[in-house]
C-alpha cells in the first residue's frame, strides 16, 4: 500500500471510533453533538500519560479510553434525564466547555530539556512515543484497525447477549422499556460511558499518530459530522456509522472525482438518501434482510 492509501485508511478508522461513539448514544435514543469532547479528553489524557509521565504506549491508550469512559458516564449522570433536545444541547455545551477549557489548560514538564505537555491554545506538541518507537504508518494502521475491530467485536458480543437489545428498547420507547423492568437511566448512563470510552480510545490513538494536538481540532463541526455518519450509514448495525465514514472520507474525499465539490455532492446525496431511508442505509429492516439472506 502506498502512503496515501495508508493515511486515508487510518483516517477512516480513527473517525469510525467517533462515529460509533455517537451511534451508541443514538441507539440509546439520545442525540449527542459532543462526542468530540471525549475524543479530545482521550487524546490529551493519553498524550500526557506517554509524553509527560513517560508511560508505555498501551498504558497510555488504556488511560485515555478509561478516562473518556469515566467522564462520559459522569456527565451523563445529571444530564441523561433531560428531554431529547435539552440533552443534545447539554452535550454541545459540555463539549465546547471542554474545548474552551483546553484553551487555557497548561501542564508542562521538562522532559530531556524540552517543556513537554499541553500549553493552552498553543496546543500539545511532541507526543512522540510511536514516532520514537519507530512504528511505521502501515504498522500503526494495523494497531488502529485492531483496536477498531475490538470495539466492533464488543458491540457484536453485546448484540448476541442482551446488552444491545436493552439499549435499543430504551432508545425506542423508554416508558415501555421501564415496563419490562429496565432502569432507563442506568442503561443510558452505561451507554454514555461506553460511548465515551470508544471516543476516548479513538482520541488516544489519534494523538499518537498526529504527535501534535490542539483544542481547535475538536470543534462542534467534528462532533456533528460524527453524528451524521451514523444517521447516514444506518442505525441497524454498528457497521452503519463506519459505512457513513467510508462514504464521506473514503469515497468522496479520497477518490477526488468530485474534487472541490465534495460537500456539495455529499450534502445532496445524504438529503436524498434520507428521504428514501429515514433511518439510514443500513437500517433495521435492511440489516434484517441481509442477515436472513446470509443465513440461507
Amino acid at each position: 500500500m502506498d502512503g496515501f492509501t495508508i493515511s486515508v485508511l487510518t483516517n477512516i478508522a480513527l473517525f469510525s471510533f467517533l462515529a460509533i461513539s455517537a451511534w451508541i448514544l443514538l441507539i440509546a435514543g439520545e442525540i449527542s453533538f459532543g462526542q468530540q469532547a471525549y475524543f479530545a479528553i482521550g487524546a490529551y489524557a493519553a498524550g500526557i500519560a506517554t509524553a509527560v509521565w513517560q508511560w508505555p504506549f498501551v498504558a497510555g491508550i488504556a488511560f485515555g479510553t478509561g478516562f473518556g469512559a469515566a467522564v462520559g458516564a459522569l456527565v451523563a449522570w445529571p444530564t441523561i434525564r433531560l428531554s431529547g433536545l435539552h440533552f443534545a444541547i447539554a452535550t454541545l455545551a459540555f463539549a465546547e466547555l471542554v474545548r474552551a477549557s483546553l484553551n487555557v489548560f497548561s501542564y508542562q514538564r521538562d522532559i530531556d530539556g524540552y517543556a513537554t505537555g499541553p500549553d493552552g491554545a498553543n496546543g500539545f506538541r511532541d507526543i512522540r512515543w510511536v514516532y520514537e518507537a519507530g512504528i511505521e504508518p502501515g504498522a500503526y494502521l494495523v494497531i488502529v484497525a485492531g483496536c477498531l475491530a475490538a470495539v466492533i467485536a464488543l458491540v457484536a458480543l453485546m448484540a448476541r447477549g442482551r446488552g444491545m437489545a436493552r439499549l435499543r428498547i430504551v432508545g425506542e420507547d423508554p416508558i415501555l422499556a421501564a415496563m419490562q423492568g429496565l432502569s432507563v437511566a442506568r442503561t443510558k448512563i452505561a451507554a454514555a460511558g461506553l460511548a465515551g470510552g470508544v471516543a476516548g480510545m479513538g482520541g488516544a490513538l489519534y494523538a499518537h499518530l498526529a504527535t501534535y494536538i490542539e483544542p481547535a481540532q475538536f470543534s462542534v463541526m467534528t462532533g456533528v459530522h460524527a453524528l451524521a455518519y451514523g444517521l447516514i450509514g444506518g442505525l441497524g448495525t454498528v457497521l452503519g456509522p463506519i459505512l457513513g465514514v467510508l462514504i464521506d472520507i473514503g469515497l468522496l474525499e479520497s477518490l477526488r472525482v468530485f474534487s472541490g465539490y465534495r460537500m456539495i455532492v455529499f450534502g445532496g446525496l445524504v438529503a436524498l438518501v434520507l428521504i428514501l431511508r429515514p433511518r439510514g442505509l443500513l437500517d433495521e429492516r435492511n440489516v434484517h434482510r441481509i442477515s436472513a439472506w446470509l443465513r440461507r
Partner: protein
C-alpha cells in the same frame, strides 16, 4: 460601575440579535417539532447575497437588505422541501441529519463562490455615535434592539390576531388536530419556515452591518447562538426566545469584559450546562411541557 452599565447596554443590543435568531429557531421547532440545523447556513446565503450586491454594484442599504432577506428565504425554502416536507412524518432524526447535510452543502457552496477569507458588508457608519453622559451607544445597537422589539410584537399580533396565526398555533399544538380541522398543514409549515428565515435574515443583516465584514464562519456562529438562546428560553414561547437571547448577550458582554475571550467562552458554556441541569424547562418554560416530561424524568 459605569463598566457594568456599558456592558449591559452592549449585551442587550447583541442579545436582541440573538433573540431574533432564537425566534426563528423557535418558530420552526414549534411547528415542526424538529431541529433545523441548516438555519444558520440559510441566513449565510442571504448575507452573502447582500455582500455580493454590495461588491458588484455598491448598492444602497435597502436593496442589500432585500437581497439578504430574499437569499435567506430562498435557501430556507430549499431546506424545507428536502429536509422536512419530503421526509416521513415520524422520522425526526432523519430531518435533523438531512438539514445538517444541507448545511454542509450550502456552506461549501458559498465558500466556493466566495473564496476570500472575508467580504465587506455595508455598515451604518453614516449614523453618529450617541453619547449619554459617560455611556456610548452605537446606533446600530439601538437599531437591533428596536427591530427585535418591533418584530416580536408584530409576530405576536400575527399569531394571535390572524387566521394564519391561528393555523400556525393549531399546527404547533397537534399536527393531527390541525389536519382534521382543515388546515393545509404543508402550506402553513412552509410559510412558517419562510417567515422564520426572514426573521433570521433581518438578524443576520443587522449583525453583518454591525461588523462591516462577513465570513463563512458566521453560519456555525449563528446556529450556535440561536440554538443556545432558544434552549435557555424554554422552547416554545416567543417572548421566552427574546428573553433567552438577551440573557445570553448580557452574560457574554459581562464575561468578555471581566474575563477576556476564553473566559467568556468558558463562562457561557459552563452556565449553559448548569442551567440545563437546574432549569430543564428553560427560563420561561411552559407547565404542560413539564407534565409531559415528568414521566420520562423518573425512569
Amino acid at each position: 460601575m459605569i463598566d457594568v452599565v456599558q456592558n449591559t447596554l452592549d449585551g442587550l443590543a447583541i442579545g436582541s440579535a440573538y433573540g431574533l435568531l432564537a425566534l426563528g429557531f423557535t418558530l420552526i421547532f414549534g411547528v415542526m417539532r424538529r431541529l433545523n440545523m441548516a438555519f444558520g447556513s440559510s441566513i449565510l446565503v442571504g448575507i452573502f447575497a447582500g455582500a455580493w450586491l454590495h461588491g458588484q454594484w455598491a448598492a444602497g442599504m435597502i436593496p442589500i437588505f432585500a437581497a439578504t432577506l430574499a437569499g435567506a428565504v430562498l435557501a430556507a425554502a430549499y431546506v424545507e422541501r428536502l429536509s422536512f416536507a419530503w421526509i416521513r412524518g415520524d422520522a425526526a432524526l432523519a430531518s435533523m441529519a438531512s438539514s445538517f447535510a444541507l448545511w454542509m452543502q450550502l456552506e461549501d457552496g458559498i465558500a466556493r463562490a466566495f473564496p476570500q477569507r472575508s467580504y465587506a458588508f455595508p455598515s451604518f457608519d453614516i449614523l453618529p455615535l450617541l453619547e449619554l453622559g459617560p455611556l456610548l451607544l452605537r446606533p446600530e445597537f439601538i437599531a437591533m434592539f428596536l427591530t427585535a422589539a418591533v418584530l416580536v410584537v408584530a409576530l405576536h399580533l400575527m399569531l394571535t390576531r390572524t387566521v394564519f396565526g391561528l393555523q400556525v398555533r393549531t399546527l404547533s399544538e397537534s399536527r393531527e388536530a390541525a389536519r382534521v380541522s382543515g388546515v393545509n398543514v404543508g402550506r402553513v409549515a412552509f410559510l412558517t419556515f419562510c417567515i422564520a428565515a426572514a426573521i433570521g435574515g433581518v438578524a443576520g443583516f443587522l449583525i453583518a452591518a454591525t461588523d462591516g465584514q462577513i465570513s463563512t464562519k458566521l453560519g456555525l456562529w449563528i446556529t450556535m447562538k440561536g440554538l443556545i438562546a432558544m434552549v435557555i428560553s424554554g422552547l416554545g414561547s416567543l417572548r421566552g426566545a427574546l428573553i433567552g437571547g438577551l440573557v445570553l448577550g448580557l452574560v457574554e458582554a459581562q464575561a468578555q469584559w471581566y474575563l477576556g475571550a476564553s473566559g467568556r467562552e468558558i463562562t457561557v458554556f459552563a452556565l449553559l450546562f448548569v442551567a440545563l441541569i437546574l432549569l430543564p424547562q428553560g427560563l420561561a418554560g411552559r407547565a404542560d411541557a413539564a407534565a409531559r416530561n415528568e414521566a420520562l424524568r423518573r425512569l
